[in-house]
Every structure is written in structure tokens, then in C-alpha cells.
């Protein structure tokens, strides 16, 4: 199960393929890898498909609009091949369509890799693992957790602010300047109370003997096991195999160069 993989290793396992995908400009490689991630996601984790789709679907539109822009405005290196059609005087070539689709698929790979991580990782464990495996100083990891804890209270505060503004008749202010003021009226009280909370919680933590010292015992002892390395090897190896396949089939395109 992916949720039991060490969070730091998992983060590396989704980061490296993300960077490596940045080199390809053909359709075949990212498409295959996208399918590969989907298989990994739905065979090795228990993320419900409906939940996954809820997060994933908005990015289809983003990816599509990005593809469309690339198709219209691809530069010379990437607008190879024959002209397929013309729109607003712009010639759409085979190459630009391929590049557009490739970039769209690449961004879908990023999104699905991110979801694979975000939907299977416990936030506290991720921080603890950054501390225990990646040697991030405890001051940073616990500091982040302390700030992150306030998320629900900020949501509540936003609601109250909305009501208080209504009482004061704020929504009746007019014009762009009024709207700009609006931003300030939300952000300043939220930030001001956030800063006060930051100070208070930092003091409370220090009053419990927290010094930021690296040497400490761990309630949740996180370890790196064989299965974690196997997962890392799976995600990176998968991409390598796909790269090689697409090279032999003649699809591979790196920075506009066909191999």
C-alpha cells in the first residue's frame, strides 16, 4: 500500500520522474507514463476513484487550454511537419499539435503524481519523516506543523469576518478602490491574528522544553525499509522503461529532437 511508504522516499519518488518528464516533447512517452501512474494509483492505494476525479478533473481544463495555446503558438522548432489547418491566419502543423498534446499530458502526469502523494500521505508523518530521514531541523518541521494547525481556525475566522463586515455595511462600498480595501480588510485581521498566534504557540512550545535541538527521541519512529526503495525503483524504473520503449519505437522527442 502506498500510504505505508516512507513519506520522504515517496516525495523523492514522485519528484524525480516529474523532473525527468521535462525533457520529452512527444505524445507517446508522457501518455504511457500517465497510464502507468494511473495503474499504480488504483492498484496500490485505496484512493476512491470519485475522490481522485474530484481533484483531478479541474486540471483537465487547465491542461486543455494550455495545449490549445501551444498548438496555436508553437515556435519553429516544434511546428514541424505538414500544415493541418489554418485558424486566424495561423498555420497549425502536425508538430505543434503533437507538442501541445505532449505538454498537456506532461502536466496531467504532474497532477496525478502529486495526487498520488497528497492523497496517501499523512501531514504529520511527512514532517516527521523530513526531520528523521532528510535531517531537516526540528525547529523547521515543528514550526511548520504549528502554523499548519491553524488552518481550521482561519476558515472559521473568515466566516466571522464576513459576518462582521456585513454588520458594518462594508459590502456597500463602491468602486475598484473599495474592492481593493476589501482585500485589506480580510488579510490584515487574518494576518494580525496569525502573527499573534505564531508568537503564542512558539512560546508555548518553548515552555514545554522545546529547544530546536536535533537530538530528541521520537514517538513515531519512521524508518526506510526495502519496500520503500522498491517503490522508488518502480516509479523511476517505470519511466526509464518507457523512455527506452519510446526510443526503440522511434517516438522519443527531446527538446524538439527526434531520436
Amino acid at each position: 500500500m502506498i500510504s505505508s511508504i516512507n513519506p520522504s522516499i515517496k516525495a523523492i519518488a514522485v519528484l524525480i520522474p516529474g523532473i525527468m518528464l521535462g525533457f520529452t516533447f512527444d505524445v507517446f512517452t508522457p501518455l504511457l507514463y500517465f497510464i502507468f501512474i494511473l495503474i499504480v494509483t488504483f492498484t496500490m492505494s485505496d484512493i476512491p476513484i470519485s475522490k481522485w476525479l474530484k481533484f483531478f478533473s479541474p486540471f483537465l481544463i487547465v491542461a486543455a487550454s494550455f495545449a490549445w495555446m501551444t498548438i496555436l503558438y508553437a515556435n519553429q522548432t516544434f511546428s514541424y511537419g505538414k500544415v493541418l489547418f489554418t485558424i486566424w491566419g495561423l498555420e497549425i502543423t502536425e508538430g505543434s499539435v503533437i507538442t501541445g498534446c505532449s505538454l498537456a499530458l506532461r502536466s496531467l502526469c504532474f497532477v496525478s503524481l502529486s495526487l498520488l502523494f497528497a492523497l496517501t500521505t499523512d501531514s504529520t508523518k511527512f514532517m516527521l519523516s523530513l526531520m528523521q530521514q532528510c535531517k531537516v531541523p526540528p525547529k523547521i518541521t515543528y514550526g511548520i506543523l504549528a502554523g499548519y494547525r491553524f488552518l481550521p481556525s482561519f476558515r472559521e475566522e473568515m466566516e466571522i469576518l464576513k459576518q462582521a463586515h456585513r454588520i458594518r455595511g462594508v459590502h456597500r462600498t463602491k468602486g475598484i478602490k473599495g474592492k481593493l480595501q476589501q482585500l485589506k480588510r480580510y488579510s490584515i485581521p487574518l494576518l494580525a491574528s496569525g502573527i499573534r498566534k505564531a508568537e503564542r504557540v512558539a512560546i508555548a512550545m518553548e515552555s514545554k522544553g522545546f529547544t530546536g535541538e536535533r537530538e530528541r527521541t521520537h514517538f513515531h519512529q519512521l524508518t526506510v525499509q526495502k519496500k520503500d526503495w522498491m517503490f522508488l525503483a518502480l516509479l523511476i524504473g517505470g519511466l526509464a522503461v518507457i523512455y527506452i520503449t519510446s526510443y526503440y519505437l522511434g517516438y522519443l522527442n527531446i527538446f524538439g529532437k527526434q531520436f
Partner: protein
């Protein structure tokens, strides 16, 4: 990064990540609106470029308030990690992007040896963050495949957004915050206090 920071400064950076994570969503809707208008012309991504500067604001606010070397970079990375924790669809890739942007923002402060926090430096910081993050996206998002004029145009919009939404807005928000008195324990609040005392004397 590590021990030169006080715990409260790190918690502050994390909280900035949470608050601007929320505010970014509000801006995202604005970007979405602009995008919908531009979409049929294939210019949709410009919609996001316009609001891109908001991504860098945490760097500028943190650097301006805390005034220590590394504040812009660390704040952006911490905000990035916090946003990953917030869930949604942000994965570890966001931390990487945040590090790149933070390094960009830090560049301007490094150039002035972390001594100058006037508006012009903050604006410059927003712009350097935009430049570096743009270079990163040429590779990471494949923007390099676009026609030169589109690249130049998106670049210009992003730099402009960085200067305005990160530099100018960041300074303005920090100054407003300082007036509330909550920054008393930080460099910016202390500087204001000193000015006030000198003014009174």
C-alpha cells in the same frame, strides 16, 4: 537553514503560507475569470500569469518583516511545504517550484547585502523571483516550445505581476500590519518604533 531562526519566525512563515494559500485561491478565481475571456484565443495561460506575483508575496513579506539573510528563500519553501500539507492537488513538485521562486526573490536582497529594504528593492525582488521562476517553467512546464513573442509577452506579464503583486502589495500589506502593532517583536516593527521615538524626540 536552521538555527539562525527563532521558532516564532518559522511559525510565522508557515502561517503566511496558510493565509496566502487561502488568499491565492481567491485570486485564482480572478485569474480564472480573465482566463475564460482569453481562452478562445488560446491565450488562457496569460490569465494565470497576471496573478502569478501573488506566489512570491510570502518571500517579500517575510524578508521585509524579519530582515535576515535567507528569509525570502526559507519563507517561500516553508510556505510551499505548508501548502503541500493543506492537501488539494499540490504535491512535492510545489516545494521544488517554491525553492526556485524563493531563490529568485532572495537574489535581490543578496545583491543589496540584506541591508536595503526600501520599496525599490522589494519590487526588484518580485521581479527577480519572476525571472528565475520563468526560466524554471520554460523547462518544467515546457513553455520553451512556444513562439518567441508569446514567451516574451508571458515573461513581461509575469515580471510586471511580480513587481506589483509581490513587491508593491507585499510592502503595503506589511506596512499595514506593522501599524496594528503585532510586529513589535520583529525587525520591521522595531524600525517603526525607532522612527516614532526619533520623531517624538
Amino acid at each position: 537553514m536552521g538555527n539562525q531562526w527563532k521558532l516564532k519566525e518559522i511559525v510565522l512563515m508557515s502561517i503566511l503560507g496558510v493565509v496566502f494559500g487561502i488568499i491565492y485561491l481567491a485570486f485564482f478565481l480572478i485569474g480564472q475569470g480573465i482566463r475564460n475571456i482569453l481562452a478562445p484565443f488560446g491565450l488562457a495561460p496569460f490569465g494565470y500569469e497576471i496573478i502569478f506575483g501573488i506566489w512570491f508575496i510570502v518571500s517579500i513579506i517575510a524578508a521585509y518583516i524579519i530582515r535576515k539573510p535567507g528569509a525570502a528563500f526559507t519563507a517561500e519553501v516553508i510556505a510551499g511545504i505548508t501548502e503541500v500539507l493543506l492537501g488539494t492537488a499540490a504535491g512535492p513538485g510545489l516545494i521544488l517550484s517554491a525553492a526556485v521562486q524563493g531563490a529568485g526573490a532572495e537574489l535581490a536582497f543578496a545583491l543589496t547585502r540584506w541591508k536595503d529594504y526600501r520599496l525599490r528593492v522589494l519590487v526588484l525582488s518580485g521581479m527577480t523571483a519572476a525571472v528565475i521562476s520563468f526560466a524554471w517553467h520554460l523547462f518544467y512546464a515546457g513553455n520553451i516550445a512556444l513562439a518567441p513573442w508569446v514567451i516574451v509577452a508571458t515573461f513581461a506579464v509575469r515580471v510586471f505581476s511580480g513587481a506589483l503583486l509581490a513587491g508593491v502589495l507585499g510592502k503595503w500589506i506589511s506596512d499595514q500590519l506593522a501599524k496594528t502593532g503585532v510586529l513589535r517583536g520583529y525587525a520591521l516593527g522595531k524600525e517603526l518604533q525607532k522612527q516614532r521615538e526619533q520623531g517624538a524626540a
